[in-house]
Point group: C2
Chain length 160, copies 2
């Protein structure tokens, strides 16, 4: 599933082979915890947790007032991650054109809030189970063309 | 994590009034940036940012499979923060009873994901504008009675 997700996420980026080579070393291994507990916790880089939460900030990005493009990008992220979309809601603000949106997933959620006038977007990708949140990053790069992107990671629920 | 905003307490499970007193000293001042930009950025503890994002983890918490209680708690959080609810969606999972829910706000969002069998919940409170995300913490303590609560803070969009 991880390889399939990477292949999908690299589509349309021009040079998939090169992209995959660049992305692979940074992709962390996430597996389902194989103990007797039935709570669907995962193991990421050896750490047992409830889910992986990526904090993604896009700077100098484009199309941040385009709600249709944002809707499509969120759906592509869900597909790339191998996740299951349960519900999606986006709201378009006036007069600045900013968008707030959330995709509720079987594996948690993706959220986006954009400030088009500042060319900035705050995105969260929170996934548990077998979904691969890292696979969303190339999709976001392709959709919003940020000059800078910062990705932080929280392994939520350690010790729970 | 910008600052050591890790608030951990095993106390405060009794009366809400006492909880508020304990939390107050850690509450940060958030004001609207008063420069000429019209992007509704805020200033928190002297730092200009797009919004305040609290990462909240509840451990040894109760009622995490009670979707009605969770719905009510999210609405109380919105009211306590002085925020504006645009849309709310909750999903109840089987067989473990876990709940995923998101409240989309005029000021960003609140999300919750619960693992009842692990007595753990992952909550995000992301607010821009004049809303006060800190005001949600006593509401969450009262609703879910966690033995431990961890609150981290990201000031999103610094430098945007």
């Amino acid at each position: 599933m991880r390889q399939a997700a990477l292949l999908r996420s690299d589509k349309g980026l021009g040079t998939p082979g090169t992209d995959r080579k660049k992305v692979k070393p940074a992709v962390a291994a996430t597996t389902i915890a194989d103990d007797d507990r039935k709570d669907h916790f995962v193991v990421r880089n050896g750490v047992r947790c409830a889910g992986v939460h990526l904090i993604v900030d896009l700077y100098d990005a484009k199309h941040l007032d385009n709600i249709d493009l944002i809707d499509a990008a969120l759906r592509k992220c869900v597909a790339a991650a191998g996740a299951t979309l349960l519900h999606i809601h986006l709201h378009h603000f006036e007069p600045n054109g900013g968008v707030s949106g959330v995709a509720v997933l079987a594996e948690s959620h993706i959220s986006i809030h954009t400030w088009p006038e500042a060319h900035y977007a705050a995105i969260d990708i929170f996934m548990c189970g077998r979904a691969n949140p890292d696979a969303c990053i190339p999709v976001l790069r392709e959709a919003f063309k940020p000059k800078n992107i910062a990705v932080g990671e929280h392994l939520r629920g350690q010790g729970a």
